[in-house]
């Protein structure tokens, strides 16, 4: 039974639950908008990395450099899309 539940996976799962609880905290704690966003961004990024590295095994083969580069490029495109849109539509240009 124990070998079906490797400790790395169990720890990763518990850690993601804890991070979700931390993110949940922003609606109960009295935080400034900036502080809350910092907490949300950091906890979401850690959780996403946990999934990639631990559960998706991104680094297990020789092509890991290409895979990381691919994800990094996709995230770059995503960040440019989101912040570029906000820059043009909301922040006023």
């Amino acid at each position: 039974m124990a070998r079906l539940f490797p400790i790395r996976h169990v720890m990763g799962y518990i850690f993601s639950l804890v991070l979700s609880l931390v993110a949940l905290g922003v609606i109960y704690w009295d935080l400034t908008f900036a502080a809350a966003m910092v907490i949300l961004i950091i906890s979401a990024l850690i959780q996403a990395s946990l999934q990639l590295v631990l559960f998706m095994h991104i680094g297990e083969t020789d092509s890991k450099k290409t895979l990381y580069l691919n994800i990094a490029y996709a995230v770059f495109v995503g960040v440019v899309t989101i912040f570029g849109t906000l820059f043009a539509m909301i922040w006023g240009y």
């Binding site: 539940f5 996976h9 999934q51 559960f55 895979l67 996709a74």
Partner: protein, 198 residues
């Protein structure tokens, strides 16, 4: 056919490693897709017109359950792949069935939520905020629906054929997809619900 025994079963033929690599490229495109939907939502989230705001609409209870179910299903999906690498067919199938059932539970809560929104007069046409919200959540929910159908199909094949390079490859690629859906949900949870309820 060149077979590399040092790698897990799902990678061993060149075709199969290429399929896994290709699926990672697809996930990169999915990141771009969801980014555009988030960009629309972040632009329109306070354009609520005469409709409700996120703070009035969102209910934290359902969201916590959805998050818990999806996180746990991602965990059991990972355990399924781990069992597959140990060559244990029955545990792998049980973990995958649990994964898919939790996916169904997630969908049930999400659909109930949508029905409640519509009953409160918050429809796709009510405001720009609601249009962007329904499109973002709906696209994720559609991915989960497809994943459940896809995973069920793979389970049938694993049940019939056991672990072959093909079924192992398909199961692993499905697991990548399922974990990715959890990643997208983490961002929806944080930047739609938590930010909206703050």
């Amino acid at each position: 056919m060149k077979i590399n025994d040092t790698l897990p079963l799902e990678y061993r033929t060149e075709e199969n490693s290429n399929k896994i690599f290709g699926f990672w490229l697809f996930l990169g495109a999915e990141i771009a897709l969801f980014s555009t939907l988030f960009a629309v939502y972040f632009t329109l989230w306070n354009r609520t017109g005469s409709g409700p705001t996120g703070k009035e609409l969102f209910e934290v209870g359902g969201v916590i359950w959805e998050t818990f179910l999806l996180l746990t299903s991602s965990f059991t999906c990972g355990l399924g792949i781990h069992a597959m690498r140990l060559g244990l067919k029955k545990p792998m199938m049980i973990f995958f069935i649990v994964t898919l059932l939790m996916g169904l539970g997630f969908l049930g809560i999400e659909i109930t939520e949508f029905v409640n929104y519509v009953h409160e007069g918050a429809t796709l046409q009510t405001s720009a905020f609601l249009s962007s919200l329904f499109v973002l959540l709906g696209t994720h929910g559609l991915h989960v629906t497809m994943g459940i159908l896809w995973g069920a199909g793979i389970l049938i094949q694993v049940g019939r054929q056991g672990f072959t390079p093909e079924t192992a490859n398909k199961s692993f690629i499905f697991s990548l997809y399922w974990h990715f859906l959890d990643v997208v949900w983490i961002f929806i949870f944080s930047f739609v619900y938590m930010k909206g309820l703050m």
